[in-house]
Symmetry: C2
Subunit: 575 residues, 2 copies
């Protein structure tokens, strides 16, 4: 059983604490959401001293289980005003797990404007002045910290956006080359870290013992089945490694669900220019990397390194949702411009989905012209300049819509929609509406059965079956996030009868438990119930579980509308 | 019985409609709130086509009843997301009443960026292009419309803030000199008018018949008692006429309830420099006007005309809450700077309370220095420039707090607090928390019994009696707003056993009714119930009926805190 590391950011003190009964056996999203419900007053100001920022490795993290290296970050979201869990790859999760830290909890809030960094290693914890790191972007911060602490440390940091406490602010993680390619993107948790004046967290597991596995043989056997399962599925074994997640541009466009020009149509005439195929071609021409994992032990390797025309690294971890948000949504179709926008987000520490949607809203409001990549780059750069435009844009789509008087703003709970139109992919639409997280595809990725024919087939254009689809996926995803597993394992699990059992076998072997698949379902439900309860205490009602009125518009090419009633939607997470 | 005038702002058409059974006998806030509940979907976007902007004269408006010329404006508020009624003096209410218009309803929303004006007279309605009025401030708009339509017309208009659909935008009314001194200030209804692309409304009652009074003798007798009552009360008969509402600066400062430097203390060391006494002295020195009514038939005359050092008109309708917001709250203590800020608000069309509090938040967030009047003027001017800073500031205190990452923001339902600290004047604090309007002193002015010893005495520093005080005042105020009466009649009514009966007598004489004081109470309660129901449908819960966490801080000089529980507060409007 690990420890909780609590850091008081005002007093600059820390304490290791035994995991209490209430938190025993929890990890990842299960722990962060439980702790937030128990310890954070739901009505507190997200940037005030009563909010907490909690990091937790998953239950399998640090073990050799393939694709188990995800880290959950949780807190009350400055963007949504509700509970938030945002997870990312990178190295920090496995290193925290190896140091025996089940939860890293940032508490209270200092006065004044001085930033600190936190250094955690096998000898203990130091809280040090950030010095000249303050004001710097994540590229420079990570380079500087690797120089000082060596290339084997994990780094979590915020850029200028988090320092300004903007609602779009992410917490970035260093990838294997020390670049800020991994993001706890959604929900503005970078602003919570900024409010606590923590610029970066360095995690060094040198000297830490191996993670204990109670039954190594059983674990090894289960993990072998696990790896085979992941590698043999066409999505996780072929599509994602070859083209990254951007393989979806053509797929979703073909399905008529690629939201174009602020959700006016499901087909983008320039989809080919921003497709995964086009991206892979450019990466190969220019000497980048098409296939890279986000953490050690990943066997899917959907990440990449994208070079510019001169063969220099332009951005990394260049993903479908990013390309959609800055691309089809804004009608920008120059992939190098989109890559530059992705780089700026990584550097300033901003969620790419929120920012891409926001740029589209800025276009809708007449701030810059539709489809103008250079204007978008100039506008986004204002965040790094601490300029007033940046304080608008950096606060996200809802905020920018309000600043500009735009009434077509695709947000739920003030969080921007991701890359799938809810009228042409109703399963994911149900998730947008009902997840406690705000519009979020990862919370229950209905694209599976709606479009990819994974885990069955459910008509994406009709209501039937989509409430149940979203419910099942939301429950499963919560459990996956608690285990520390990458969401992309779901493709194989959904298409494999032995999938859930294999995960259960690994958990049982690691902890000497006797869990069944039913226990995993129960864990998922309990996580969602905790999250719903926090939101209820924060003032959310079923009114907040609806899509905005713009989705009453008829959506080409299928000419569908959003037609779920509030009553229907309220069944999704009723258990 | 009057008519409803419905104007479709998209089609540029209008229709006179008989008042239906549901709306019969309603006027002012009673009509606007009922219509919004019945006709506006509570979850609609406030700037979208489903919102409506409704103007309604009160039940006594247009009659000779003293102080009965107030106009209610209602809609779904862009600032709070809930229902809103904002009322003002000026000439429009009496002229609409004389034209037989019980409700003027702006519906739908045009595409494109062209503004229109609406001209209403005894011959009908015209909807005309706004031409070069678009982009202009209210001073220029009103001057131009008086030039074109004569000095006997009423004008309602929006400035640059309303055109930009900013949440702080007001609708201004021309005063008797054609200056935009009267404001439907609170709740951003100017943005709703802007979203419907209506720049101004001209109301000309030339040729309209007199308002019918069913029993003229009874009416005359009641109105005589009414005028005597108002003139003989020390507040409405002496304090307000002599010094305007700014008489309160010294009173509230003395009571330790003048929120200073963003609600850090209840006493302002420079209170004397911004007091009503100082203001009256300067007005007299410079040749302004200390005593002026906001509409014909006013016998209190709390308004004024404030001149600059050179004897030219600087601003009009210069009020206590404005002086507090731009003064003690920001620590600016140069009255001429504060007057200039008031003028800018009138000209751009902005709520002075919201803007003053916002300037303080901009200071809290480091955007400009504390107490710097010239910097505040420069910052507020950005609204008129359509600059990004203006799009932040003009959206109010909550928005600006979010833009700057400030966690001490005095708002309820996202509307900024007025000029009385809830810890030193708990009766008005209960109103801030519980009125459906968002933090608003006029919704239930507990300052009466808490500080002014009007209508009894209730300790402002303790909880006891303040829930009941706020309840009674909120019910009474809703009825006053339905009658079209000025709120300041309440001083005399609260201290006079014959007060309510006199109002009832005037209503009965005007309409040939047999109302009793109980009917007036029932009307007030039904208005509040309609407003609460709209907010409930919009997603509000008792969580929204609380003060922000900054009011847990101990407040000097009385060292009190805000200590009402959510349960206690929820009793306030339970009937």
């Amino acid at each position: 059983m690990g420890k909780l590391l609590r850091i008081n950011t005002k007093e600059k003190t820390f304490e290791f604490e035994d995991v209490s009964e209430a938190y025993a056996g929890l990890g990842g999203r299960a722990l962060t959401s439980r702790m937030i419900l128990d310890e954070v007053p739901a009505t507190c100001h997200p940037l005030g001293k009563f909010n907490k920022l909690i990091f937790s490795p998953g239950l399998l993290t640090g073990s050799p289980a393939a694709n188990s290296g995800r880290l959950s970050a949780g807190g009350k979201s400055p963007l949504t005003g509700g509970i938030k869990e945002s997870n990312a790859g990178g190295y920090a999760s496995q290193k925290l797990a190896k140091l025996g830290i089940t939860g890293l909890v940032l508490e209270d809030k200092p006065e004044g404007n001085d930033f600190s960094i936190i250094v955690i290693n096998n000898d203990g914890v130091e809280i040090l002045p950030a010095g000249d790191l303050a004001g710097k972007g994540n590229y420079a911060v990570m380079e500087s910290l690797w120089e000082k602490y060596g290339k084997n440390v994990a780094v979590l940091s915020i850029g200028q956006a988090g320092e300004q406490c903007l609602k779009g602010a992410s917490i970035q993680q260093a990838d294997m080359n020390g670049r800020p390619g991994r993001a706890h993107g959604r929900g503005g948790l970078g602003a919570v870290m900024g409010s606590k004046k923590i610029k970066a967290i360095v995690v060094d597991d040198k000297g830490a013992p191996r993670i204990e596995i109670k039954d190594p043989d059983a674990f090894k056997a289960a993990n072998k089945r696990w790896v085979d399962m992941l590698k043999s599925h066409p999505v996780s074994g072929q599509g994602l490694p070859a083209f990254g997640t951007a393989v979806l541009v053509n797929v979703i466009n073909e399905a008529g669900a690629l939201p174009t020009k602020n959700f006016r149509s499901g087909r983008f005439e320039h989809a080919q220019d921003i497709s995964g195929e086009k991206m892979a071609e450019l990466i190969e021409q220019r000497g980048g990397i098409t296939t890279e994992g986000c953490h050690p032990g990943c066997v899917i390797k959907c990440s990449n390194v994208y070079h510019d025309k001169d063969g220099k690294v332009l951005t990394t971890g260049f993903e479908y949702e990013t390309i959609w948000a800055f691309g089809a949504h804004t009608t920008i179709h120059e992939l190098d411009d989109i890559a530059m926008l992705d780089r700026l987000c990584d550097d300033f520490g901003l969620d790419t989905i929120e920012m891409g949607v926001t740029i589209g809203i800025a276009m809708e409001g007449g701030m810059i012209p539709w489809g103008d990549g250079k204007a978008a780059i100039a506008l986004l750069s204002k965040v790094g300049d601490y300029a007033p435009e940046g304080k608008i844009i950096g606060n996200g789509a809802g905020f920018t819509g309000d600043a500009l008087g735009v009434d077509r703003v695709p947000v739920v709970k003030n969080q921007a929609f991701p890359a799938y139109d809810p009228r042409s992919c109703k399963g994911v639409g149900v998730t947008y509406a009902t997840t406690p997280m705000g519009a979020d595809h990862t919370a229950g990725y209905g694209v599976t059965a709606n479009i990819l024919s994974v885990g069955g087939t459910i008509d994406p254009l009709k209501k039937q079956g989509n409430i149940e689809l979203s419910q099942n996926l939301q429950v499963a995803t919560a459990a996956i996030d608690a285990a520390g597993l990458c969401l992309f394992i779901a493709f194989a699990v959904l298409d494999n009868e032995d999938g859930v059992q294999t995960i259960v076998d690994m958990l049982n072997a690691k902890y000497e438990l006797k869990l069944t698949p039913d226990d995993v379902v129960a864990l998922g439900k309990s996580i969602l119930n905790n999250e719903k309860e926090f939101n209820r205490r924060a003032g959310f009602t079923k009114i907040d579980d609806q899509l905005p009125e713009m989705f009453k518009e008829t959506f080409p090419p299928h000419n569908t509308t959003w037609d779920f009633t509030s009553e229907e939607l309220s069944k999704t997470l009723s258990f």
